[in-house]
Amino acid sequence: MTLADVKRGDKFQIDLIPDEMIRAQAMRFGISEGSSVVCAEKIPGGPVILKRNLQEIAVGRRLAQKIRVK
């Protein structure tokens, strides 16, 4: 399953982030492979908003399709 397939309110684990730069940036924001996160919001056709504790990040839809979750 990819991050683009999750629904608002879903809890899941980030499994794989393919791009190295994206991984580094996400890690700075507090989200790395293995992190448990919640989908706080999903903008129709647009970004997925991830939440881990109080930290929220917006992930563009195309990038979300490349991130594997479980």
Binding site: E41, G60, L63
Partner: protein, 616 residues
């Protein structure tokens, strides 16, 4: 590249120590900086970037501010500057947002890993309490191995404690597991902080020691992230689970059904503030009263005492498009108030945390144009001044995004100088023509973006941004951002407007302007079905976009003709300053494509609209 040495940018007296302030964006760093330095602050440009660094004195030591960053590396200009300043620090005062510890402590831990003495100011404690967070400050300090002082800078709480405690800063507990690898690099003469950056693959620092950047970033980042998560788990307890009002509003901003009306409301507020209040009331005073009626006659008098009126020199200096007349009036009388207004509004959006949410909301639409949500900043600024907006396309993630954004800005975004005149001309024609105008411009914007997205090679970058908690904007922050950005606009764009004025005067003197007008005339008459004189208006639009539209005011045209003329002139050209800034930001070759691309698009669109309107 000369990296990691800041001593030739900032005057550091002998024996003085360097106190560096560091933190993530929007953590209230400026309040600490002002508290340390008082009002005597030096601002100097950081070479090779458009960024300024501020420095001042605290007792006998030097205090240096850094741009807000999420980590120390070289992902962008902000980070490069922050990296060099932090690497040279004797002590770092790290300002941390208590509500956002997971994000902020990554930078803290990185600076600790660099082996620099750190003092943490745990800011926004009031908000942390309101959000139901309980933070064990002692445990945090013990885990990090550095002193931590809780503060609420906006109320002044804890500021003096931080200042007094600055020299109690300590080298904290490193999260680095690759100490042996680090020793190998240090052997080449690099300091611990530089060696760490080389391990993390920083190309500039590696080059300084003529070595290759290493590839341990992934491992180091992961260890650091794990350690930060561990610390956060130990020190933070959430006392209530209930969502606060702020969280709810934040969500509503993101959902299209509520977010789009909220965005439209914000844009309407922007229009009222910049488009009506500043563009009409304030500019009426600055441009008309101060510059055209007072300053220009004065400077003409002065120059005509020295230079013979009517000569080329006099034309260049104080003629119709003179350096000291038009360029000065345009830059300071018209654009400066508009730019200040725009930056002020943008700073409010940024400081409140609304801007990243707008970026997320519009990401979908901008993605189809080959951009991403971050491009909303240059697009919004374009309605203020396309020249200014073109400069900010630097923040976009890839070359193809920058090209698309620059083209769309030049083509389809009317700047505020032009908007006023256009609104004045189109309003009397009624709703039908207004809709035709807006629809045509919007269609061209979308089609051009979609087309470029299709034909340009490569891939655009995706949105990946932090959504900070919403908060009331802090006036001191907003004012400071507005001031710094407006100043850098004048510094960057001012010379461009001057060059533009000289170019136009020369073109007029050598009859080039007239020649272009004559060349364009057959197209305006034959294809656009407009009076011959509109050609003059189009060419004047190059000089100043508002001149072009204003040139249409005196012509006798039917409503359909006016609409066609306005559509064409909006698309036709960016002003000469915007054309020149494109060369600076992009290249000659790309700029020529962009100019001709927008000329052709303008005439084709204008012609098509003329043909369609003639059917009704």
């Amino acid at each position: 590249m000369d990296c990691c040495n800041i001593s030739h940018q900032i005057d550091i007296p002998e024996g003085a120590k360097k106190i560096v302030l560091a933190g993530n964006p929007n953590v209230g760093k400026s309040i600490f900086f002002n508290s340390f330095t008082g009002i005597y602050v030096d601002v100097s440009n950081y070479p090779g970037t458009t960024l300024d660094i501020s420095s001042g004195k605290y007792k006998d030591d030097v205090v240096i501010d850094t741009p807000g960053v999420y980590g120390v590396s070289s992902f962008n200009d902000e980070e490069i500057v922050a990296r060099d300043v932090i690497a040279s620090a004797d002590v770092v005062v790290n300002i941390v947002d208590a509500v956002h510890l997971e994000r902020d402590l990554f930078l803290t831990q990185q600076i600790i890993d660099m082996g620099i003495p750190v003092l943490v100011a745990l800011n926004m404690m009031d908000e942390a309490q309101k959000s139901g967070l309980e933070i064990n400050v002692d445990t945090l300090s013990q885990k990090l191995g550095v002193p931590v002082i809780p503060t609420t800078a906006i109320r002044g709480d804890g500021l003096s404690e931080v200042k007094e405690a600055v020299w109690t800063a300590k080298v904290g507990n490193s999260s680095l597991k690759l100490e042996d690898e680090l020793e190998d690099v240090k052997f080449k003469g690099a300091s611990r902080s530089e060696s760490l950056l080389i391990l993390e693959g920083d190309p500039h620092v590696a080059e300084k020691y003529s070595t290759e950047p290493l590839e341990y970033r992934e491992t180091i980042y992961r260890d650091r992230r794990e350690r930060v998560n561990e610390i956060v788990d130990k020190v933070v307890t959430e006392t209530n689970e209930g969502t606060s009002l702020r969280t709810t509003i934040g969500r509503l901003m993101l959902r299209p059904i509520t977010g789009i009306p909220m965005l439209l409301l914000a844009l309407y507020a922007l229009y009222q503030f910049v488009g009506v209040f500043i563009a009409q009331t304030i500019v009426g005073i600055t441009e008309e009263t101060i510059f055209i009626n007072t300053y220009e006659p004065f400077i003409r008098g002065v120059i005509h005492n020295i230079v013979e009126p009517g000569s080329l020199t006099s034309q260049l200096l104080v003629g119709e498009f003179g350096l000291l007349t038009m360029a000065i009036t345009y830059t300071f009388g018209l654009l400066l108030p508009l730019v200040v207004g725009f930056y002020f509004f943008l700073a409010i959006l940024e400081d409140s945390g609304y801007l990243p949410r707008i970026a997320a909301l519009v990401d979908r639409m901008l993605t189809s144009l080959g951009l991403n949500g971050r491009a909303v900043i240059p697009m919004l600024l374009g309605f203020g001044c396309v020249t200014m907006a073109t400069i900010t396309t630097r923040l976009l993630g890839s070359k193809r995004e920058r090209i698309i954004a620059v083209f769309l800005l030049g083509l389809a975004i009317p700047c505020s100088a032009q908007l006023g005149v256009i609104a004045g001309l189109i309003a009397p024609l009624g709703a039908k023509f207004f809709i035709v105008y807006v629809a045509a411009i919007f269609a061209v914007y979308v089609l051009a973006g979609t087309f470029l997205n299709k034909i340009l090679p490569g891939e655009s970058t995706d949105l990946l941004i932090d959504l900070p908690p919403l908060r009331l904007p802090r006036l001191s922050n907003v004012m400071q951002k507005t001031f710094i950005k407006s100043k850098s606009f004048i510094k960057e764009a001012g010379p461009i407007f001057a060059v533009g004025a000289v170019a136009i005067t020369l073109m007029q003197d050598f009859g080039i302007l007239e020649a272009i007008q004559n060349a364009v005339a057959p197209i305006t008459v034959g294809w656009l079905e407009l009076p011959k004189e509109t050609a003059t208006a189009f060419i004047m639009g190059i000089v100043r976009r508002d001149f072009g539209a204003a040139g249409l005011t005196d012509l006798a045209m039917t409503p359909a003709q006016t609409t066609v003329a306005l559509i064409t002139i909006t698309l036709f050209v960016p002003c000469i300053a915007a054309m020149l800034i494109m060369i600076k930001e992009r290249s000659w070759k790309e700029s020529i494509y962009i100019w001709f691309g927008s000329w052709i698009t303008a005439f084709v669109t204008g012609g098509i609209v003329a043909k369609i309107l003639s059917l009704f």
